[in-house]
Amino acid sequence: MSEVSTSDSLEDAIREASQKDAVAIPRLPTQTGQAPSDAPMSERPVEEGRIKMRSEHLEVFYGTNRAIKGVDMVVLANEVTALIGPSGCGKSTFLRALNRMHDLTPTARVQGAIKLDDQNIYGSGVDLVQLRQRVGMVFQRPNPFPKTIFENVAYGLRVQGNNNARELAEIVERSLRGAAIWDEVKDRLHTSALGLSGGQQQRLCIARVLAVAPEVILMDEPCSALDPIATLKIEQLMEELKREYTIVIVTHNMQQAARVSQRTGFFLTGDLVEIGPTATIFSKPTDKRTEDYITGRFG
């Protein structure tokens, strides 16, 4: 997808983004001499009441490739969970499974379960539109629609059938404030979103997600196309957002994971090698593979 998306439907934009990345995920040869993927995780117990999402022996296949090899993991409410690992490790694939993005990829197949508040999102009778409203996604490259700033944020609400002008104005303002961009755009709400800087566009996309009142926000390398200042703003925003929302972020920038997250999971060749409190992962990881990766001894 080009930096400025030309698609004018949310569904198209999502499909484009999803398919591009599905193709882009390289496969690594299976590593030998490695712990079996279903080895029990050495994570200390977490309080059940804090679990927002949970994957249960999740497997994702692209054709015959097993990109995720049976991952059990929990995402805690009102925290930032960071997923790290080398390219092709499965972290983005895992993230995309959390709101069924893989449904849009014909060759992809998902086994196991992902529970959102104890409901299996892969169960029958799950409304995908409602699921993606509850679990929103922010992509690597900001992908505003070629519409005004206002209409970008109002889009999801209009799709839901809400055309009440006063209500829309209220939610748009609240969402833009929530995404820490209101002051920068309040005087130009009815100009094109494509005139914003990259960092502003990304915060606009976050506002667009906030407008439909999600519970979980997935972020797939949200800062990798941004400069350091814009990156800092998004990182500060995550700190704010986690009070109300649950955030899962995939990042290639390990220092970013260390800065923004409360828990970090390390993926390698489709396995979740280790997950734990971020301070522990970056000071005293349990698994040597984690240690070698974060200290730059391989990867």
Partner: protein, 216 residues
């Protein structure tokens, strides 16, 4: 993405720590030799040489801060850099204890000799070996070695108590009091060096395991 340049810098810092430790260990050896042979010139060399030790500590500390600032180290790299800072502080204080021994060597050289305290050179030998072994454990990331060194600290403590009692006994003759007091300070300096060896061993264990462990 392997960080070869960074890990090369870490190796250089480790090498600088070894050099500093070698300097400190020979300062202890020379101070003891000056004491035994009543060699004031050698004692003065030890005292003057402490500036070099202090300079090495400053230099390693500055380099370590620079690496932390530039490389944002994590996990074992971070623990190693923190450990280096802790170890060089211990080495610097060991250097001060060597100066303490050297100053007493000068003081004793101008006084009539008292009965030789045979255990004192033996104690110094044990302590120097401990310093060497602790630094080796640091280089080898050897926690078994680090724990074993600390157990040997009991021998040093035992000798210290014997020397203490012996010198205290010799003070019954009031003519011996100035010399015995100086020798007590020497024994105390050596005992303090051994305690700092224990600290280094604890730092090595932290570096390897990430656990803060109290030895002895």
């Amino acid at each position: 993405m392997t960080r070869d340049a960074f890990h090369h810098e870490l190796d250089e810092l480790e090498e600088a720590v070894v050099q500093m430790a070698t300097l400190v260990e020979s300062a202890i050896a020379n101070a003891m030799q000056a004491l035994i042979q009543r060699d004031v010139t050698l004692a003065q060399q030890v005292i003057d040489g402490d500036d070099t030790v202090n300079e090495q500590q400053r230099s390693i500390r500055n380099k370590t801060f620079g690496v932390i600032a530039r490389q944002a180290p994590v996990a074992r790299d971070l623990r190693e850099l923190v450990t280096i800072q802790l170890v060089i502080n211990e080495l610097e204080r060991m250097g001060d204890h060597a100066v303490g021994v050297a100053k007493n060597a000068i003081r004793l050289a101008s006084q009539p000799p008292v009965k030789a305290v045979v255990d004192l050179p033996e104690m110094a030998k044990l302590v120097r070996q401990q310093v060497r072994d602790a630094i080796q454990a640091f280089v080898d990331v050897n926690i078994v070695g680090a724990r074993e060194i600390c157990i040997r600290d009991d021998e040093v403590d035992l000798l210290y108590r014997q020397i203490f009692d012996e010198l205290l006994g010799s003070m019954r003759d009031s003519d011996n009091v100035p010399q015995a007091t100086s020798l007590l300070f020497v024994a105390h300096d050596l005992e303090r060096v051994a305690d700092r060896v224990t600290n280094i061993c604890e730092d090595v264990i932290y570096m390897v395991t990430g656990e803060i462990e109290e030895l002895n």
